[in-house]
């Protein structure tokens, strides 16, 4: 009986985390590209645009998730059909995560050796070709590493789903475990969360290494 609710909660956690991460990347990746290429000294410098974009990203990133969650209730209701519940929380999670993803992606792209980009320019690459064929492939290991970090961060945020009537391991630990004083459930849920984070981190590290041809 106890295992049933743990399994169910695990499913809900994955159900919240994975789509949020993927959608956050769908938005954050292009945004990260824009942040990198439009900065001063980038391949398409647009300083004013870059400053404004950076400010917006920073603004969104600085709102604590639990507050953003509450602030977004009306918008979530429109986008997801209802403001609360496991599925609805994907929306605020995504909104909260994509600026973070953008900065993460920006960081990965910044690590690409400027000389390589210059070489690509000297060969007559268009901006789009540099992004697709140079920036993204060269930054791939770092992007994978960032993806794993973002996913574990979003996973941690799902624990706050209980505040918006969502399920998952975090909710289980707080509502059943803490509030109803079933501490075994609280610990079991926490342990599973820890294992999840470990698995994601390990997989991230494995694929980062596997796709990095600078080593050996």
């Amino acid at each position: 009986m106890k295992w049933d609710i743990l399994w169910e909660a695990l499913g809900e956690t994955v159900y919240m985390t994975v789509p949020s991460t993927l959608i956050a990347y769908a938005l954050g990746l292009p945004l990260g590209v824009l942040l990198v290429i439009t900065r001063k000294g980038g391949i398409k410098p647009l300083p004013t645009f870059n400053t404004v974009l950076g400010a917006v990203v920073n603004f969104l990133r600085s709102i604590p998730f639990i507050i953003l969650l509450a602030m977004l209730f009306p918008v979530t209701r429109i986008v997801m059909g209802k403001a609360i519940g496991t599925q609805s929380i994907i929306f605020p999670l995504t909104v909260s995560a994509f600026p973070y993803v953008a900065r993460m992606v920006e960081g990965s792209f910044s690590e690409v050796d400027g000389g390589i980009i210059e070489a690509a320019q000297s060969m007559g690459s268009t901006t789009l070709q540099i992004i697709r064929k140079v920036l993204i492939p060269e930054a791939l290991p770092s992007l994978i590493n960032g993806f794993a970090i973002c996913m574990t961060t979003i996973l941690a945020y799902t624990a706050m789903a209980s505040a918006a009537g969502g399920g998952g391991l975090g909710s289980l630990a707080i509502i059943k475990g803490l509030n109803l004083r079933k501490f075994d459930i609280m610990y079991a849920a926490s342990v599973i969360l820890v294992i999840l984070v470990q698995v994601i981190t390990m997989l991230g590290a494995y694929f980062t290494r596997k796709f990095d041809h600078r080593i050996r």
């Binding site: 390589i116 060969m123 268009t126 050996r216």
Partner: protein, 336 residues
């Protein structure tokens, strides 16, 4: 062979730095002929890197004109610039290969971006790797290659677009002397066999002497002198040139000096004679050679030699007298 392929007219480049400006290029005019290997030499900070990077617009000149095959490089935007850059390839000191792509993919990159069909591109890659002698490294990643091999991949990549010009930005400066030789030989071979005009910048005169047909000496953002390599080396007129070729005292050797020394300057002004042997024999002194940097140009010695200064003032005077009598320039040098 005689019409200019690249013409720089009064090229200027001014960098804005905090609290002022730095003039990197101060009115450079040059004509580089079709099919030649043109060298630009200068000390670090002379502006040579800026100069070569302006040619394909990796750096944006502040003023002046760059004509390549009669087309003005500076008025080009967007697609025109992309098209032009495919005719002017470049190799770099740090190779700048795509580290996450195999040798074959690196060489194929310029073909991919130009939309060459895959099967034709692959055949061309094979051909190019043969030219640079790396057929067996097709599937290796740059990280698995030595510096010389990486530069060969970069050269193959630069040749992929069938360029008219190959710009070499200190292409051998990160390589050991042996590897430098082989890369220079490859560049010369490419120039001769494929008729590609080569423009190279370097701070090493050996590189210039070995493969260049003509040379310009860049100093403080200006051309100090220019001409055929033989002419510039044998009849060096500019102070910058003399400094570069070690005709005027070089400061490098002095800095490492630990003991008092005498500097003997060979300025090519006399015939080739075994001066040191004569010094030992005639003065009956032991000579301790601390460093020597002498080149034979047109059969005449150029450069300088540092010998240990004897502690005995009498011996010292004897040596000085002999050397001055031979018409050499001799100076006392003290450790700094």
């Amino acid at each position: 062979m005689s019409e200019p392929l690249i013409e720089l007219r009064n090229l200027k480049k001014v960098y804005a730095v905090p609290g002022g400006e730095v003039v990197a290029l101060d009115g450079v005019s040059l004509k580089i002929l079709r099919g030649e290997i043109y060298g630009i030499i200068g000390m670090s900070g002379a502006g040579k890197s800026t100069l070569i990077r302006c040619i394909n617009r990796l750096d944006q000149p502040t003023d002046g004109a760059i004509l390549i095959d009669g087309e003005n490089m500076l008025s080009m935007r967007g697609n025109d610039l992309v098209r032009m850059r495919r005719r002017v390839s470049m190799i770099f000191q740090q190779f700048n290969l795509l580290m996450q792509k195999t040798v074959a993919r690196n060489v194929r990159y310029p073909l991919e971006i130009a939309g060459v069909p895959k099967h034709r591109a692959n055949a061309r890659v094979k051909e190019l790797l043969q030219i640079v002698g790396l057929e067996d490294k097709v599937d290796a990643y740059p990280a698995q290659l030595s510096g010389g091999q990486r530069q060969r991949v970069a050269i193959a990549r630069a040749l992929a677009s069938d360029p008219q010009v190959l710009l070499c930005d200190e292409a051998t400066s990160a390589l050991d002397p042996m590897t430098t030789q082989s890369i220079l030989a490859l560049l010369k071979d490419i120039n001769e066999r494929l008729g590609i005009t080569v423009v190279l910048i370097t701070h090493e005169m050996a590189v210039i002497r070995q493969i260049c047909t003509r040379v310009a000496i860049l100093d403080g953002g200006r051309i100090a002198e220019e001409g055929t390599v033989d002419d510039v080396f044998v009849h060096t007129r500019s102070a910058a040139g003399k400094r570069l070729f070690g005709i005027l005292p070089e400061n490098d050797a002095d800095e490492q000096l630990k003991v008092p020394a005498l500097r003997i300057v060979f300025d090519g002004g006399r015939e080739n004679r075994p001066i040191i042997a004569e010094l030992v024999r005639k003065c009956g002194v032991d000579v301790n050679i601390l460093s020597a940097n002498i080149r034979r140009i047109g059969g005449k010695p150029y450069g300088q030699m540092l010998i240990g200064m004897p502690e005995d003032a009498e011996v010292r005077d004897k040596i000085m007298k002999f050397l001055l009598g031979e018409g050499l320039t001799v100076k006392e040098v003290w450790p700094q």
